[in-house]
Subunit: 291 residues, 2 copies
């Protein structure tokens, strides 16, 4: 069993990005600049957006954090976006989700210039992804591709089973892995809540991407020997034995499946740490493309 170590891999990627930033600066081109807008005071969102800003600093990016109050009008948020869209110093920016209920999330995402949409959520970028054109692939799918690639996990001709059809993970993963691309060319089966005889299908899988958000859903008797498992789930379960009072659990019963696996991602430390690295990578791409 080989652990797909997202923590180490993301550190490697950040180091590579830092080198490229130094190179860009030395050549007098431009320092990549990521902006983030956050609306309201949701604790988890603030923690997450701060981690992004901190990651920018570490690789030598410039960053701008725009904090707006919870009662910000949709119109005012759209105005902020319009300003970032035309600010030549900003290479890419994100609007931290979720937004307060009075704001139409889809409308906000649509307002971002696709060329600065480093989260890859704008329909134009989703469409380019589906058409296998150059674009910003959103952080989680991009991170999974990168992890598979760096560990030389063969996907071509393999049967991949994706669990969960979310727009953020399951659906793009199923599209990407079936495409003609380096980490692609797989036969992909997309499963979800309406799937019947799921176990029959997972037992056929060479690679399983689990992204349903049900703790330890995938058990050892549902997979064949030498399966590769990517666990995207992350749920907090109460655990009085932990100082924090909880532990993080994935969609995969790790201990029992690890024994049968060729490759497997841990939770935490698998897919999770990859996402910020890929956001930085998209920002670097944006900076390079816009020059």
């Amino acid at each position: 069993m080989i652990l797909l170590d997202g923590k180490k891999t993301s550190a490697d990627i950040k180091e590579e990005i830092a080198l490229e930033v130094t190179d860009l600066k030395n050549r007098g081109i431009k320092t990549p600049h990521l902006a983030a807008i956050i609306v309201g005071n949701d604790g988890a969102s603030i923690t997450y957006v701060n981690a992004k800003v901190k990651a920018c600093e570490r690789v030598g990016f410039e960053s701008t954090l725009i904090r707006l109050p919870e009662d910000t009008k949709e119109e005012d948020l759209l105005n902020e976006i319009a300003i970032l869209n035309v600010d030549n110093d900003i290479d890419g920016f994100i609007v931290q989700l979720p937004l307060p209920e009075h704001i139409n999330e889809q409308k906000v995402l649509m307002a971002i210039d696709p060329d600065k949409d480093v989260d890859g959520f704008h329909p134009t970028n989703v469409g380019k992804m589906a058409l296998n054109l150059p674009t910003f692939i959103s952080a989680t799918p991009f991170g999974i591709l990168e992890l598979l690639d760096r560990y030389n996990v063969v996907t071509s001709g393999k049967h991949v089973v994706v669990l969960g059809r979310s727009h953020i993970v399951g659906s793009p993963m199923s599209i990407l892995l079936s495409q003609k691309r380096k980490t692609g060319n797989a036969t992909v089966t997309m499963c979800h809540s309406r799937t019947k005889n799921l176990k029959e299908i997972t037992l056929q899988a060479d690679i399983i991407i689990a992204a349903i958000g049900i703790p330890e859903f995938l058990k050892a008797d549902m997979v064949k020997d030498n399966v590769t498992v990517i666990d995207v789930g992350i749920t907090r379960l109460a655990d009085s034995g932990k100082k924090s009072g909880f532990r993080l659990v994935g969609d995969v019963a790790f201990d029992e499946i690890a024994k049968k696996s060729e490759f497997i991602t841990p939770v935490p430390g698998g897919v999770g740490p990859m996402t910020i690295a890929m956001l930085l990578k998209n920002t670097l791409l944006a900076c390079q493309r816009n020059r």
Copy 2:
């Protein structure tokens, strides 16, 4: 065995559209107006675009056909598109493909205003499709959904196997059928040239969408009893017994598979006739949305 009769169904749809056009006119709103640009003298393309114009007339649409010479510069084609984009009388328009080699097809498709892109090829519309947002679904996938819907073919919880990952048919079909939608909620396996043990997979399928362009590729021993088969392939095979000198053959060995099928599309007369009907439907939608 029930034949999924595309010829009859498309005639029904056109009749429904004609009624809606009459209603729009009676209410003094607007007559839907489709424009088509064709570049060059490719015989098949001219036949096809003429059929579209004729279909417009039959349902009461206005239509405009713009014929440009083979040596039209890309810039001049882009200019024509820019004019149609801002022409308020034009509800939707298409650029007939393929284009001459000196013109960048992707650049041309990207220049069309997504709100007038009734072919549904613009990345923004492909992305909206993938995100299950209101959009123009391109004619062939839209026609297949409509055919399944009108014959009450149950897709929810069924195992659909899609053969072929083209951007025009296979890929969008696999996305659409797995989504939360009326004709959707299926478990979808996307197969293509790199798929191994294909027969093992097709034998599991409740529904097969064949879109690979290899005549009579799918044989009876590759499907289970009571399978539903949608045949998107259409190849001309030389046939001295026919007056035309050829016959049209699908991707499915029709005679032997029909006996085992619950539903099956013929070739010709299955998916083919649906495409023009769905182009008209998209144009009607564009007209209604833009008011």
